[in-house]
């Protein structure tokens, strides 16, 4: 029940003054905040702290997991039977396409080789279980149960059975953090399936996505499917991302406001497939022209030199 005396008597040793301690800790906090935000160079600190926190977090998540498990157990035979029937039915309906897929891929590969086009990359990856969503209310992230030990690296894309879920942003020894495509800072380069038009889709933060920088008269319709364009060198081409839900065309703005809903069960718990990193894209060609200011300066220098030589 003792308070802090602002002027402690000298014969009681009580460490540094509270104000000095406050300044010290506040400065450290601000320093690591700025370094983490600007330079992202504190990953080692984060990983080592995560080694301590991660087990506690997993233990704390077990009651919820047990409740889920029990609910699944009690759901009963009937629902399982129905789900099983539905799945069997779905399997049958997709069978004609799937059975010929292998042959089609082989044919596609052969044709591409004939046309001397680079072969399509095969998608490979590993399945990871979503452990929990991060508590941070400012972003949309989930933690999965595979990390550095399974060879996961930051930047790998993650998909589920329907489409793109997100991208691995931080890797810890035994877990990894996936930023969902609905996060405000996450952008995915996409392509409209119907007409091949390319754009970039951004997360809005409330579970929706926005197709930005499309001109007001762009050829986009409600219900259009967006798939990854593969131009970023991260996502392979052709994974479904979102479906256009609403379009607002306002002539006062130069861009249309196009909202989309993600195709994948982005906000659901379950399993995701973390795809292996792509082989790097060829280097971009160098920019064609130099900045005009530099060129002019160089010429002037050369002229001066010429004058000196004369």
């Amino acid at each position: 029940m003792a308070g802090i005396d602002h002027a402690p008597p000298p014969f009681f040793k009580r460490g540094p003054a509270p104000l000095a301690l406050l300044t010290f800790y506040v400065l450290i906090s601000l320093a690591i905040f700025v370094v983490d935000h600007r330079f992202r160079s504190l990953d080692l600190l984060r990983q080592s702290v995560a080694l301590v926190v991660d087990p506690v977090q997993r233990v704390a998540q077990t009651p919820g997991g047990l409740v889920d498990h029990a609910r699944g157990y009690l759901e009963g035979m009937q629902q399982l039977q129905r789900e099983n029937d539905e799945l069997r039915h779905a399997k049958l309906t997709t069978a004609p396409g799937l059975q010929r897929l292998e042959q089609l891929e082989a044919e596609n590969e052969r044709l591409r080789r004939l046309l001397v086009v680079k072969e399509r990359e095969q998608a490979k990856g590993q399945v990871a279980q979503i452990l929990y969503t991060a508590r941070d209310p400012f972003s949309r992230k989930v933690i999965v149960d595979k990390g550095q030990q399974s060879g996961i690296t930051a930047g790998q894309p993650a998909i589920d059975e329907a489409g793109v879920v997100g991208q691995v942003t931080r890797v810890f020894p035994f877990s990894a953090e996936i930023t969902l495509i609905t996060d405000k800072n996450q952008a995915v380069p996409v392509q409209i399936v119907r007409n091949g038009q390319r754009s970039v889709v951004f997360g809005v933060g409330d579970g929706q996505l926005e197709l930005r920088y499309m001109p007001a008269n762009a050829d986009v319709k409600v219900g259009d499917m967006l798939v990854t364009s593969g131009l970023d060198g991260v996502f392979l081409q052709g994974f479904p991302v979102a479906r256009v839900v609403s379009i607002e065309r306002d002539s006062a703005y130069s861009f249309a406001r196009i909202l989309c809903a993600p195709v994948a069960g982005v906000e659901n718990f379950g399993e995701v497939m973390i795809l292996d990193a792509r082989t790097p894209l060829p280097e971009q060609p160098p920019e064609a022209q130099t900045r005009p200011g530099e060129g002019g300066k160089g010429q002037r220098v050369r002229k001066q030199r010429a004058a000196k030589a004369n």
Binding site: L22, A31, L42, A134, P137, F138
Partner: protein, 173 residues
Amino acid sequence: MQPHFSSSRILLPVRPWFIYFSLFAALALNFLPTAHWPGVPDWVALVLCFWSIRESRRVGMGWAFILGLLMDVADGSLLGQHCFAYVILTYLAASLSRRILWFPLAQQALQVLPLLLLAQIIQVAMRLAAGADFPGWSYFVGPFVATLLWFPLTFVLLLPQYRPVEQDPNRPI
């Protein structure tokens, strides 16, 4: 002499391990899946605030900083966000402890509310400065719930310090 100092009940000295245990329990409560529900308070901030008012010599800004770092990593937020808020909270709580403990419980809770709100506001301000979206007003419901929890929390955390009911009649005092 102190007519309104209702919290001045004589208590046994606190056991240090109980302080550390309660802080750890608060951390575990923050890790529960319920942390996503609107209105669930930040348990670490609440317990930290409690102990820095009661025992500011044992729980200081160093503890606040370490717990903040753990919360930052567990949340996946930017490092330093919780550290900063908790350190400020602990400092203010410790320097106001004499004044807060003077009041009865209800008024103590009223004085704790602005401290907890400040911790949330600091975090929102830091994240908004870093370019995040405003998370909605439900983010600020937590401190109000925490204020209501001040009564049961005080009872539970002081329980080990209450004088045993059966007293020895042969005691000299």
